[in-house]
């Protein structure tokens, strides 16, 4: 049966994870406890991260970048005013996770560590060019969100590693939006789209969620789209570039074909939302 351990520092947590072969970190518990209740996961040791000082909270660094602690609850992220302009997409995505009660429990670190392809943070973080700080037996390292998801539910996190923080570039003036298609309010995404559009209408970042193991972004295609946002053909070409990289599942939320159909429609839809907002 399980033992629950309460480290008070990251180093201690990492050491405990290394000490027990079957140990798992537990952040907010929203996903892990649900899976345990369903009998899907079993482990001998749970390493609780909730008593480690400094893992939660959102701060602005001296250089203007924003750092979000891994144990920051979705509710805090969803109401954080520092996440403005280009980073507002993250705030919006956080506010669309599950429902208000679950947002009081779930954490960004927990969600991203679980790497459910249909969860909301991955595309939003990808759109923001987030960098993950990962602590492990070998010390601390940083990984770009774009390199983080390696395959279905497989991530750059190695044995005994935990995410400690997310660093986002300083926000710049941009309109940004997150849209997810879901069967009902609070469901995981059938497909989702995060977008940030620079104020001058030039720079654009787009990430698609729930259409492959990880978020889909294509900086080259984004560069090509720059300056042609008003051109439906350019938008279609861009959308096709992203759809070509998609590898969607067939599941109870929708078929793979539907998800492929949704990619260009979401991109146009979100562009439309943003232009309405900026008018």
């Amino acid at each position: 049966m399980t033992e629950l351990l309460f480290p008070t520092t990251v180093e201690e947590a990492v050491a405990l994870l290394a000490a027990h072969e079957d140990a798992r970190p537990i952040a907010g518990g929203a996903t892990l406890v649900a899976m345990r209740n369903a009998g899907l996961v079993e482990s001998t040791h749970l390493v609780s991260l909730d008593r480690i000082a400094g893992l939660a909270g959102i701060v602005r660094l001296e250089d203007g970048r924003i750092r979000i602690g891994a144990m920051t609850k979705h509710a805090e992220t969803a109401s954080c005013e520092m996440l403005s302009g280009s980073l507002e997409v993250l705030r919006k995505a956080a506010g669309m996770i599950a429902n208000r009660v679950v947002r009081n429990m779930g954490t960004m670190g927990g969600s991203v560590a679980n790497a459910d392809p249909a969860a909301d943070y991955l595309p939003a973080l990808a759109c923001c060019d987030a960098v993950l700080t990962i602590a492990g037996p070998g010390g601390t390292r940083e990984v770009s969100i774009l390199d983080y998801v390696e395959d279905w539910y497989e991530t750059a996190l190695g044995e005994g590693e935990i995410i400690t923080a997310f660093t986002l570039p300083a926000p710049y003036a941009a309109a940004s939006s997150y849209r997810k298609i879901a069967r009902v309010s609070g469901d995981f995404a059938t497909a989702s789209c995060a977008m940030a559009l620079e104020a001058d209408g030039q720079g654009v970042r787009v990430a698609i969620g729930a259409c492959g193991p990880g978020p889909i972004r294509d900086p080259e295609a984004e560069a090509a789209l720059c300056g042609h946002l008003g051109d439906p053909e350019a938008v279609a070409t861009f959308a096709k570039a992203l759809a070509d990289q998609a590898d969607p599942v067939d599941d109870v939320r929708g078929s793979a074909e539907y998800r492929l159909q949704l990619i260009p429609r979401l991109i146009s839809g979100v562009l439309n939302d943003i232009s309405k907002e900026t008018v």
């Binding site: 892990l32 369903a38 679980n114 790497a115 395959d151 539910y153 590898d247 599942v249 599941d251």
Partner: protein, 150 residues
């Protein structure tokens, strides 16, 4: 859940057939496979571990060769359960080897898999993707075993 795929391998069919029917080769190629034991002429036992996200499971599998026509077709049936018997898996499998004009072999497979119990409650989309991914690993391993590249 139906899983199907095919791959080409740059080796003659007879050689591929021999390797496919050799448990010792298979144990090294099947991802997560921890052993294959031949029970009789047509029955094998095997343990295979699978990990999907935080979910880990080890299956004790029985593989029965229902019919085979050397050197091109094997029909088999896999059944098994997790160690704790919380999930039961069964599948009907078809494996076909065809000679390609270039002297290689086209391997195609189909499996109709059903999984019930604890793991059966997990969204079906991911398992199919996981199966495809594992098939990809198998192909790499198998090619390596035959000493051919992709």
């Amino acid at each position: 859940m139906k899983i199907a795929g095919e791959f080409e391998i740059d080796a003659p069919r007879a050689e591929v057939w021999e390797k496919v029917r050799d448990p010792q080769v298979m144990v090294q190629c099947i991802p997560g496979c921890e052993g294959i034991e031949q029970i009789d002429a047509t029955t094998y036992r095997s343990q295979v571990s699978v990990k999907v996200g935080p979910i880990k499971a080890t299956f004790n599998l029985k593989v029965e060769v229902v019919s085979e026509e050397a050197p091109h077709t094997v029909l088999s049936r896999t059944s098994g359960e997790e160690g704790t018997r919380a999930s039961v898996v069964s599948s009907e499998n078809v494996l076909r080897l065809a000679e390609t004009p270039e002297g290689g072999t086209l391997v195609s497979y189909e499996a109709d898999v059903s999984m019930t119990g604890r793991l059966g409650k997990f969204g079906l989309g991911i398992f199919r993707k996981k199966a495809d991914q594992l098939a990809g690993v198998f192909v790499e391993n198998f090619r390596a075993k035959l000493g051919v590249s992709a």
